[in-house]
């Protein structure tokens, strides 16, 4: 009897506590709404209210994804009023589960870089329906109601830049090999489409031929073996467009092992330290197209503004835009020193 009573009293007490907490959250929201009107600057580091942001990213076993995580944390650390948690998932399924659990924790905003945009769209929609705004990074959800705001690199533009660079270098005459990323995700499709579309426009005579186009799965050992086979099939290669700097290291090794590094040049994507070092030294690795990992910091900053009901002060009226596209850039031996600060491991 006494035990039952004890349990009941605990339950009652916790309900009371939750109720109080909820009230206080409600109150502070009112406060920040009033603050919003007077303070619309994006650079403020403290707003008097704590914002909880949960970010969910794929496994950070890849240089660029590692940089994304670091950058998100660094941005969160700059704000005293941000309570930040970073979740790393092993695959799309476990990421969906992690986000389900995150929804239960009721953060103010979710920041999601999905392993697979299409697969994680339903769970993002669920978060939005539960009243938790979602900021989507890089890999797009497939429904417009799955995210409040989106920050993305321009994968199509990366392909455009690569086609222009390679077209110029070859003076619109030569054979190109494309080593793609993981088949079936928008990042790969866009990098390929931007490249092929632009090559047609830039070299309308068809002087640049794509003689082989194969996936290397963003993986150095897959890049190595695929390139070994392509080198067997193609005796005349002038340039290689790879979708990723890490994977490109395997491609570079295949070309070196075949002693054909004097016959061709190669470009990467991403801006890794290794790639930048090789671009600086000159030789096979001629350029990389920077896909800025700082977009994660932008996403965290946007998430904070959304939670606080604020906006970009430069916009009239100040709002958080639906979509922010972070520009890509060409890094070559001439300008690599300017870009080295963006290099990641």
């Amino acid at each position: 009897m006494s035990r039952k009573r004890f349990i009941i009293s605990i339950v009652a007490a916790s309900l009371l506590a939750i109720g109080t907490a909820a009230c206080s959250v409600g109150d502070s929201e009112e406060v920040t709404r009033t603050v919003t009107v007077s303070d619309t600057t994006a650079g403020g580091t403290s707003s008097g209210r704590t914002v909880t942001i949960i970010a969910s990213v794929p496994p950070t076993d890849h240089g660029w994804l590692g940089a994304i995580s670091k950058d998100a944390k660094a941005a969160a650390d700059q704000h005293d009023d941000v309570d930040f948690e970073l979740l790393q998932a092993a695959d799309a399924d476990s990421q969906a589960q992690q986000i389900e659990q995150a929804i239960a924790q009721k953060p103010d905003v979710l920041v999601v870089l999905p392993q697979d945009g299409a697969a994680l769209t339903p769970v993002a929609q669920k978060a939005e329906r539960a009243g938790i705004p979602v900021v989507n990074i890089d890999r797009l959800f497939t429904a417009p109601d799955a995210a409040t705001a989106t920050v993305l690199g321009d994968n199509y533009q990366i392909g455009v830049l690569a086609a222009n660079y390679i077209g110029d270098q070859l003076k619109c005459n030569g054979n190109v090999v494309e080593i793609q990323g993981l088949a079936g995700i928008s990042v790969t499709t866009d990098r390929t489409k931007g490249f092929t579309d632009t090559l047609k426009k830039k070299c309308p005579g068809g002087g640049v031929r794509i003689v082989a186009s194969q996936p290397g799965d963003f993986n150095p050992d897959k890049g190595l073996t695929v390139m070994e086979n392509i080198l067997q099939a193609q005796s005349d290669i002038d340039a290689v467009y790879t979708h990723d700097d890490d994977m490109a290291q395997g491609v570079v090794q295949a070309i070196r092992n075949a002693n054909r590094d004097d016959d061709m040049f190669l470009t990467g994507v991403g801006g890794s330290q290794d790639a930048m070092k090789q671009i600086e030294e000159g030789g096979l690795y001629r350029a990389t197209f920077l896909y800025n990992p700082n977009m994660a910091g932008t996403a965290v900053n946007m998430a904070r503004l959304i939670a606080l009901g604020q906006g970009f002060s430069e916009l009239v009226p100040p709002e958080v835009p639906r979509q922010v596209v972070v520009p890509a850039a060409v890094v070559t031996q001439d300008n690599v020193s300017e870009y080295e600060k963006y290099a990641f491991n």
């Binding site: 073996t225 890490d246 290291q249």
Partner: protein, 340 residues
């Protein structure tokens, strides 16, 4: 009565000789698949496929999965499985890489370090399966995850460059330096191919001509009978997982030698190609029947498919469907032949 005889109750009877014949036919069937694939490649890509250079390339590529598949044959012969070999390749490579340090140049340290580390991971698998009695699928699935995590942890998710492990020579790497195992040749044949072929021959002798090999097959065929006959079942099971780890270490050396670096994301799903090669080769997933020649041919089949499809520049989706169909076809072809 020797233990091996007890473990194979069919031995001596007509059924046994039928089985033996079936096994041979299966090997012949797969040899036909290998020849057919080679002919197909020669017709579709007459200038670049049937060349000595491409054969050399295919054999080099086959050597990594090949070494893993020989170890896998022993594991599967005991009715076990090892899902962790790809992850072990990544972990062993990164371990060897951090062992030599940033300005180390000792190939021997890398080679022995990588092999020792993979063997150690194999010992963990072996202990889990043989002594903790965890089903092989689960024990090695756990290692699949653990070893990948270890590979990422060891060097803060970064790859380690091994380009200095050339024996101090900046042109062609010195014999027996790490890079030589990826790029060096003796009489025009790549060093890695010698390693693969030597391990295949050793595997064949051990499996077919030693008491240990008979014990391995006996344990997979009928564990209880083997135990009653006095086969040290637990020790045999323990040994095959250690062997699989050891050979994962050798595969690590062959892969890193060609890649010039040790990457924590390398070896992704290599276990599936290794298991696939073993099974289309004719080794039974239920244990008790194993063929090294079949495994060798299975490895060649996969290497030929991959090379041919890349040379033809088929799109990914077409490649995946084609690869699946060829695997199904290879298995069906063997089965219909073995009925006679």
């Amino acid at each position: 009565m020797t233990p091996a005889q007890a473990a194979e109750p069919d031995q001596g009877g007509p059924e046994f000789s039928d089985r033996l014949k079936a096994l041979r036919l299966q090997e012949y069937g797969l040899a036909a698949v290998v020849v057919l694939l080679f002919i197909a490649g020669s017709i579709l890509k007459p200038e670049t496929f049937p060349t000595w250079d491409n054969v050399r390339n295919m054999l080099t590529q086959a050597s990594v999965i090949g070494v893993l598949a020989i170890g896998m044959t022993f594991v599967i012969a005991t009715a076990g499985i090892d899902l962790s070999v790809g992850s072990m390749v990544a972990a062993a490579g990164v371990f060897g890489g951090i062992l030599i340090g940033t300005d180390g140049t000792s190939s021997l340290v890398f080679i022995l370090g990588a092999i020792a580390f993979a063997t150690l991971l194999g010992v963990v698998n072996a202990t889990a399966v043989a002594y903790a009695r965890i089903v092989p699928f689960i024990a090695t699935l756990a290692m699949f995850s653990i070893a990948r995590g270890v590979a990422l942890l060891l060097n803060d998710k970064l790859p380690v460059s091994l380009l200095d492990l050339n024996g101090g020579s900046f042109g062609d790497p010195r014999p027996f330096s790490l890079l030589w195992f990826g790029n060096g040749r003796i009489f025009g044949i790549p060093a890695s191919v010698y390693v693969f072929v030597a391990i295949t021959i050793a595997g064949w002798i051990v499996l077919n001509r030693t008491r240990y090999g008979r014990y391995v097959v006996a344990v997979g065929g009928n564990r209880e009978a083997a135990r009653i006959a006095g086969v040290p079942v637990r020790r045999i099971i323990f040994s095959v997982y250690v062997l699989s780890g050891l050979l994962a270490g050798v595969a690590t050396v062959l892969l890193c030698a060609r890649l010039g670096s040790a990457s924590p994301v390398s070896g992704n799903l290599y276990e599936l190609d290794a298991i696939g090669a073993v099974v289309i080769g004719g080794t039974s997933l239920a244990g008790g029947r194993a063929t090294i020649v079949g495994t060798f041919l299975g490895v060649l089949t996969f290497a030929l498919i991959f090379s041919l499809m890349t040379q033809l520049n088929l799109s990914t989706e077409v490649q995946q469907v084609t690869k699946g169909l060829i695997v199904l076809g290879a298995v069906l072809l063997q089965r219909s032949e073995s009925r006679y």
